[in-house]
Amino acid sequence: MILVAFIAILMTGGIIAWIAASWSHSASRWISLVTLLVDFSLAISVWMNSSGLEWIEKFSVPWVPDFGISFSLALDGLSLLMLVLTFFLGIFGVLVSWNEIQERVGFFHFNLLWVLAGISGVFLTMDLFLFYFFWEVMLIPMYFLIGIWGHENKRYAAFKFFIFTQASGLLMLLAILGLYFVHKSNSGTGTFDYFQLLGTQIPLGTSRWLMLGFLAAFIVKLPVVPFHTWLPDAHSQAPTAGSLILAGLLLKTGAYGLIRFVVPLFPEASAELAPWAMLLGVVGILYGASLAFAQTDLKRLVAYTSVSHMGFVILGVFAFNQLAMQGVVMQMITHAISTGALFAIAGVLYERIHTRDILAMGGFWGKAPFMGVVTLIFVMASLGLPGLGNFVAEFLTLIGSWQANPMLTIFAAIGIVTATAYSLRIMQKVFLGKWQSEKAMPDLSLREKLIFIPLIVTIIWLGLFPQTVINTVKPMIDKQFKIEQPTSIQNNNGVQ
């Protein structure tokens, strides 16, 4: 039941916040904050009490029994981590919008909470139909977040976001149906239940197509070059909370889908695809970095860094080993935090100087050193400095993918150098250099500090003590690699 509660609390919170706004704007804000805090603490308490079992919680009631659709939720380590992340970032989503959003506050918080509810649903559901359902449900509020409270080019961005994700989502729906029918013809019963579909025997040819359907949705969401072009627009045009959630959570649903569905459901087909997928990952890493380097819009820049960083995810997922997979999970979490924080910085700057153009910035360190330090830390996180969480993620991914494909790993690692280039460019253009403007540039306020300090603590904690996270997902990853590790990694200790 607690799994339902996670989603239900968010949804009811959203509705109450909407209603409350007609009474007072700050009531709406407080309600959302409290809602998220409640969910967050619930999730933490589940985490604390979780045993080392693969499935921590399960819940299932029939929904459309005629089709074998059930409202089925389950929680394992991966879902748990993602869930905690969702609520954690959700809190900051509310906090960063505290002053930014002054219009239709209630509707804003409604959308915010419903996006989060959709995302939680995606992370929790174990019914493929329901998964698709939540997959789409999270789009609409996100569309509104971008389309209503976004920046100057919001309509275009919202359109693009919506159409890209919908188009790919529909392909996934086709694949889900294909899988349903394959299973039905194999076993006689039609079901969308993940656990029952898991072992379906699919002819390789069919399997390839079905996997591509799933893959389409996930790599667009992730995004993988060349399906990324919705992302810079959506990220740069969204309000701060929107960017935070897009970068921090929505992209992760793609990664989550890859881990949860593509690889376990289509082991052979994905093994076959692996080199190409990894290649796409590498292309993404380098291409994203190169584009990030050229941008002058701060949010756009950060958006392209996401493209680059998410390349590591697909690289790691298709490396098929535990190290890489752990790296991917770490990457999902740490990227969420570091990029989320960078978007929050961009938002904070926008509130002060009303521009996102980094050429119009410079020398802010002198006025706002605290902000400078914060930015520095997250810039460093984004370039993968050891000691911060992203390093653990990237290092694990690379060390894992090296064992699968050293050549591609070399190119992937070049991405680290290019990451350095664009990351330092942020620092240089915004905080270093000469102070250009006469405008006042107040340092972070208490509320803003409340946003950034926990994020900093988390990113450092993840960098130094990643074992907590590793242990949480370990049962799930162990299970996966026992089932379908296509070719065992050669444990080559021998002399060459």
């Binding site: 050891p386 690379l398 350095t420 330092l424 240089q428 270093l432 002399v495």
Partner: protein
């Protein structure tokens, strides 16, 4: 065991300074900054004493398990042995002196607390680097020092070019870093561990000499080393790194960080010895670097750039030593170099400070009397750098390398010749710098005169520079082997080519003569007949500017890598792939316009549509 405190104390200092830096009274900042490093230094002494007096070959402490995934289990654990002890001694002690110096040097700067915070963070990272018991933690330190170097080079952030230099330093060293990372990946693939000791043990066990894997791995590690240590071909960042404050140059870009590569190779010498080809490449890189950097130093007019090239050149010596398996000689030269180069940088800092931030040597001169302490200490440092015979530490350390480059097992006459040429050039540019700065007539009035806080570190370093040399004396000259004995458990002694034994004195004599003749040449051109220098310069203007630009490497990389990358990025700023999708939209709109044309609003046209539909359907029936 308080081993973990050694890196932890500076970290604590850094933390305090970052978080509370703004609020702290100015007086307290240097106390926290220097104090934490000072405590570390004191601890190092105590620990060193215990280490030497105990019979243990290493101290080990594990703070916590960092990660543990299916055999990949790096811990945050420190490992102290003779090699790391030498390093942490230099780091904490020289670091402490530089902190003390900085307390006065930086006192008027706005970012006083920030400066100390960075320095402390650097010391912590460097200590982690050398104390790490596994490669992953070492990599943490490795990148940490890179970060601090970046932050400190760009310390005066308002200047655009400082920022540029800082980024260049970070990015160029990162190129080396990923090579190192590849090395680690391969090591892990081979041995399923990244613990340094275990790797060494397994390598010795599993690989034969000349093993291809060993070669690849050692070359990858070397890649990391040349990046950090500013060796060919990744040396270009170091001269620019002089944009940072002088203490930074002293600490990071002379004494400690840039020698991380030396440390890495020494640390993994087991692997390198299994790959003789790699060793030879190390030697060649060292030899070529030291000559090239020497000539580049010869033409610089920025005081600190001379020192920067000289640093590159001196590290070249260390690499040369590593390349001929003269491990302890390399470490010995590292230590002595740390002393005198730190000294030179600090002194140069004092000079520049007193001349209102004037960097151009040709605008200096006649400072001998104005800044006596600086003059004398600088002289001692310069002597050491030029390896003036007998009285300087530099002589003993460099002489050893010269000798072993010829007589060592892997020695070669070309190595020796390169080293000899390098020694001569070193001597020339060192005294060119000396003469231009302190002799001749006063070109710029002296402003600020350094106080006690700056003088004392200079003096201490001067003493160390001189005394330090005497802990390791050649066979022919006292034969003290205190240092190499100390390192022997870790770093094996060099095997000599036997037929060379008898030539040692001859070589030393040659070296001494070369050093002295270099001084002589410098005297001739810069004191005796300065016109000749100008003539020479103008007669070979192209060569001069070529050397001045550091053999054109910057330009080359700029043209080859940087500009194409920036160009391509900017060309593709709006993402060509996006255009692809836009063209889909265009096609859709185009189709829409065509189809909209059919919706003409004219009734008969619509009827025609129905008729055509009917005809087509009937046609289908006929098929």
């Amino acid at each position: 065991m308080s081993l973990w405190l050694i890196p932890a104390l500076p970290l604590l200092g850094a933390f305090v300074l970052i978080v509370f830096g703004q609020q702290l009274p100015k007086r307290l900042i240097p106390i926290i900054g220097s104090g934490s490093v000072g405590l570390s230094a004191a601890l190092t002494f105590a620990l060193g004493y215990r280490f030497i007096s105990s019979s243990a070959s290493s101290f080990h402490i594990k703070a916590w398990q960092w990660m543990d995934i299916n055999g990949f289990s790096p811990a945050v654990a420190f490992h102290l042995d003779a090699l790391s002890l030498v390093f942490i001694f230099v780091i904490t002690f020289v670091g402490f002196l530089i902190h003390v110096y900085s307390a006065e040097f930086m006192v008027h700067d706005d970012g006083y607390a920030r400066f100390f915070a960075y320095l402390n963070l650097f010391v912590c990272s460097m200590l982690t680097l050398v104390l790490a018991d596994n490669f992953v933690l070492m990599y943490l330190g490795w990148e940490g020092v890179g970060l601090c170097s970046y932050l400190l080079i760009g310390f005066w952030y308002a200047e655009e070019k400082n920022g540029y230099a800082a980024r260049k330093a970070f990015i160029v060293t990162r190129v080396g870093d990923i090579s190192l990372a590849f090395g680690l990946f391969m090591l892990f693939q081979q041995f399923h561990t990244l613990n340094i000791q275990e790797v060494a043990a397994q390598a010795a066990q599993h690989w034969t000499v000349g093993s291809e894997t060993a070669l690849i791995i050692s070359l990858l590690l070397l890649g990391g080393a040349v990046g950090k240590s500013a060796q060919l071909p990744l040396q270009t960042w170091l001269p620019d790194a002089m944009a940072g404050p002088s203490p930074v140059s002293a600490l990071i870009h002379a004494a400690t960080m840039v020698t991380a590569g030396v440390y890495l190779i020494a640390r993994t010498h087991v692997i390198f010895e299994l790959a003789p080809d790699a060793l030879m490449i190390v030697g060649i890189i060292g030899a070529v670097t030291l000559v090239l950097a020497g000539f580049a130093a010869l033409t610089q007019f920025d005081l600190k750039r001379v020192l920067a090239y000289s640093t590159i050149s001196q590290i070249g010596y260390m690499f040369l030593a590593l390349g001929v398996s003269a491990w302890s000689a390399a470490i010995f030269h590292f230590m002595i170099h740390a002393f005198f180069k730190a000294l030179l940088f600090l002194a140069a800092g004092a000079v520049i400070e007193s001349l209102h931030h004037e960097h151009d040597m040709f605008k200096m001169g006649g400072l001998k009397n104005k800044l006596p302490v600086v003059y004398w200490t600088f002289l001692i440092g310069a002597g050491s750098l030029a390896a003036l015979p007998l009285i300087t530490g530099g002589f003993y350390s460099k002489d050893q390398i010269l000798w072993l480059s010829l007589a060592g097992e892997h020695g070669h006459i070309w190595f020796f010749l390169a080293a000899l040429v390098g020694a001569f050039v070193t001597s020339v540019y060192t005294f060119r710098m000396m003469f231009l700065t302190f002799f001749g007539k006063e070109n710029t009035p002296v402003g600020h005169v350094p106080g006690k806080g700056m003088n004392i570190p200079l003096i201490v370093l001067a003493i160390l520079t001189t005394v330090g040399g005497f802990i390791e004396l050649p066979h022919t000259f006292g034969h003290v082997t205190f240092f190499s004995d100390f390192l022997k458990p870790i770093l094996p002694a060099v095997t000599m080519q036997e037929e060379m034994e008898s030539f040692e004195w001859l070589i030393q004599l040659v070296a001494a003569l070369v050093a002295l003749s270099g001084v002589g040449v410098a005297y001739y051109f810069f004191i005796y007949k300065p016109d000749q220098a100008d003539e020479l310069k103008s007669s070979a203007a192209d060569l001069h500017s070529f050397w001045l630009s550091g053999w054109g490497f910057d330009k080359l990389y700029d043209k080859l890598v940087v500009q194409p990358y920036v160009y391509l990025s900017n060309v593709n700023k709006n993402d060509v792939i996006d255009k692809l999708y836009e063209s889909v939209v265009t096609v859709a709109n185009w189709l829409n316009r065509i189809l909209a044309y059919t919706q003409s609003g004219i009734l008969r046209w619509y009827i025609m549509g129905i008729v055509i539909g009917g005809i087509l359907l009937m046609a289908l029936a006929l098929i």
